[in-house]
Amino acid sequence: MNILIVEDESRIAKRIERMTRDILGETLQSLTHINTLHEALFFIENNALDLVLLDLNLNGDNGFDLLTTVVSESFHTIVISAYKDQAIAAFEYGVLDFVPKPFNRDRLEQAFNRASTKEKTENNKIKLLAIKKRGRIQLIPIDDLLYIKGAGAYTELFLADGKKELHDKSLEKLEQLLSHTFERIHKSYLVRISEIKEVIIESGSKYIAELKNGERIPIGRTKYKDIKAKWL
């Protein structure tokens, strides 16, 4: 794993670094520590990362500017902050976890587990997805999202108004963030459960989910049982 720590308190940064090495052991490929917002943005643009550990209050700056940028990237973000009252806002932006200070090794390990074991989060607060569009960050309300289609490393977001947007995160990562309202019905599709009108069984054991707007999305054979269980 390639990890970036953004933290302006040197002692705390060292603590995170030490614990991260300890927890991840062999799986850790690189670990970088940066203590200013500006440098962090530059680093993110130019390096491939798997996880960012981010302090929201850097040198008196509000870290939410940085936050919108990092959540639009392909990697997951874990916020480590002294301000517990910012947790809800951070979750709304789609961070994987929020670790309040002071923290211990167990809490940090829990956060790492979420990231590495593809464990679904209990984040039911996510409200926005940040996407990069023409060099700028745009925030899309989750409520506007009908379904998501995996397209290699990135994903396509299909919106209620018929538009299609691209997101840098993989379908697996988005599934982790959106698991409370979205269901993986196919290896390439993540669909909002409430949008499914009916499940159609076609000849040759083909399962199709028909959405309220008439679109038809295939259901994976293996997934069908799960969905059937949930629906009945």
Binding site: D8, E9, S10, R11, I12, K14, R15, N35, T36, L37, H38, N57, N59, G60, D61, N62, D65, A82, Y83, K84, P100, K101, P102, F103, N104
Partner: protein, 558 residues
């Protein structure tokens, strides 16, 4: 506010008193003749050749005045008419040839001491006041004011009423005056307890002058004044009027400030003095001064209304009401009614200002409490507390001995905070101690070497608590260490006769600027609010980046 109804109430009261019943007599033109013949008192004497005016009657010569008077209604039986005269000189009064009264010794003034009074009332025998024509003849001499011949005032009514009405009127006016005297004292004491409030002093003086003015006007009812002394009373009234006429617009100019205030006030004072000194017809002088006062005040208040200043509209109303009263009542009454209305307006303004002051004071209390909380919050706000605790845990886990030192540094900072939290000013040495302990904590947290330097500090100088600490915190958060992993701070104190100046320098490499830098942070707001709390407007504060880091200057003017 109930004060709004007061002017209306006063107006009604005045209108009621102003409309007295019809007079029982009709007075014709007075004729004059210098000389002395007892026959001139007779009812049927032919005074065809007598003069309409005599400008000067020198050397205390005797002269006669004859005034035909029609009695329109005979008096009730046992209820004689009287005549009240306002005449300069010492004189004898004849009614239809009969001597009805004597006021001094006409013709003998140069020999005898002054005798008699300005306002005298004489009873007229009932048998001489039948309906029809009568003649009032006065034998008089004017030794002291030879140019004041003639009848200045004349009133015929029931003798008892003439005497009692005057006393009743003046007793009411004295009650009225007493109210202003008390008001004057009250506001004087108010001023003495807060000597910055000149408006209360001016209002107090106005009330006092008004009190004396009423006294001077109505003193004639019970204090006999010889005509030679009467000029003193008139001069007193003139001077009082001058004072009031100046102070009322001056007061309004304080409440409703307007451009070129000094110049206009000087011109106005010039006009007042011109009126005061130019003519010696006292009634006219008083009148002119009252009118100029009214006009100038009106101008100021209209300006106040135009600028939408607080209270200006009600004051304008009182001023307009006072002019309305001026139209419907005789001058001496309207003068007092008008003045009291205007004084009420001033009173209203003062009450508004007092209210404003109270609110401002309450606000300042709230502000002080807020600043105190702000100071306390520095140590419990999550950014400080949680980061410190996280670092502390780490130190304890990794190097317990250092962890203990860290806790001690933290304890010291909390202790210092406890000592200063409720104060508005503390010795600078205490503030510096606070900075030291803060730096110690931050060294454990940030693992950067912080250096502190001082220059020219006088330890006992007082400053508001937490302001240097705030600047230090800003220095720590907004800068990156130099190449040797250090940040240096330097506090310089300079003082001169006019001001004291603290310069606080941060030597560090600056963080690349982001747009947030332009916004004023809560830290700087705190510094400014603390300076305002202790020094009002007498301070300057600048905070600016420099090559080597950051520079803050606090200037406090004495």
């Amino acid at each position: 506010m109930n004060l709004r109804f007061l002017p209306c109430f006063l107006l009604v009261l005045l209108l009621v008193t102003a409309c007295s019943q019809n007079p029982v007599y009709k007075k014709y033109k007075t004729v004059f003749k210098v000389g002395d013949q007892q026959e001139w008192a007779a009812k049927n004497w032919n005074d065809q050749g007598w003069k309409k005016h005599i400008r000067l009657i020198p050397d205390g010569q005797v002269y006669w005045l004859r005034t035909p008077i029609d009695i329109l209604k005979s008096p009730e039986s046992l209820h004689p008419y009287g005549i009240q005269l306002d005449v300069y000189g010492e004189y004898e009064v004849f009614w239809d040839g009969v001597l009805i009264g004597k006021n001094g010794n006409p013709g003998q003034e140069s020999i005898l001491p002054p005798e008699g009074k300005m306002w005298a009332t004489f009873s007229i025998p009932t048998d001489l006041t039948e309906e029809g024509e009568h003649i009032l003849a006065i034998r008089s001499s004017l030794y002291y004011f030879p140019d004041h011949s003639g009848i200045w005032g004349l009133e015929i009514d029931y003798y008892d009423d003439l005497l009692t009405d005057r006393l009743i009127e003046s007793s009411y006016m004295h009650l009225f005056a007493g109210a202003f005297l008390i008001t004057s004292f009250y506001f004087l004491f108010l001023f003495l307890s807060n000597k910055k409030e000149y408006a209360t002093l001016i209002f107090s003086i106005c009330c006092f002058l008004f009190f004396t003015l009423i006294l001077a006007e109505y003193i004639k009812a019970y204090l006999p004044i010889h005509y030679s002394m009467h000029v003193i009373r008139l001069k007193t009234i003139g001077i009082l009027m001058l004072g009031i006429s100046f102070l009322i617009p001056f007061y309004f100019s304080m409440q409703f400030p307007f451009p070129k205030r000094k110049l206009l006030l000087t011109i106005y004072t010039g006009v007042l003095f011109y009126i005061f000194l130019s003519k010696h017809i006292f009634e006219l002088t008083t009148n002119n001064m009252a009118i100029s006062m009214w006009l100038f005040s009106f101008g100021i208040v209209v300006f106040g209304v135009y600028k939408k200043m607080k209270g200006a509209r009600l004051v304008l109303l009182t001023i307009l009401l006072s002019v309305l009263i001026g139209f419907v009542t005789p001058f001496n009454k309207s003068l007092f009614a008008g003045f009291s209305l205007i004084l009420l307006g001033m009173f209203y303004l003062l009450s508004l200002r007092i209210k404003e002051q109270r609110l401002a004071y309450e606000n300042s209390l709230v502000q002080s409490t807020r600043l105190r909380l702000e100071l306390l919050k520095k140590n419990i706000q999550p950014h400080f507390l949680m980061n410190t605790l996280t670092s502390l845990i780490d130190w304890i886990e990794e190097a317990p001995k250092k962890g203990v030192l860290f806790i001690e540094a933290l304890a010291k900072e909390f202790d210092l905070f406890n000592q200063i939290e409720s104060k508005t000013l503390i010795p600078v040495s205490q503030e510096i101690m606070l900075c030291h302990s803060h730096l110690e904590i931050m060294e454990y947290r940030k693992e950067i070497s912080y250096f502190w330097q001082e220059e020219g500090i006088s330890p006992e100088e007082k400053i508001p608590p937490g302001i240097l600490l705030t600047l230090l915190e800003n220095g720590i958060t907004h800068s990156m260490p130099l190449e040797d992993n250090s940040i240096k701070f330097k506090l310089i104190f300079e003082s001169s006769i006019n001001f004291k100046c603290y310069t606080f320098l941060t030597f560090a490499s600056r963080i690349t600027e982001t747009k947030n830098d332009k916004k004023e942070g809560t830290g700087l707001k705190y510094v400014k609010a603390r300076l305002t709390e202790s020094y009002q407007e007498r301070w300057d504060f600048t905070s600016e980046p420099m090559n080597h880091g950051w520079k803050n200057t606090i200037k406090i003017y004495s």
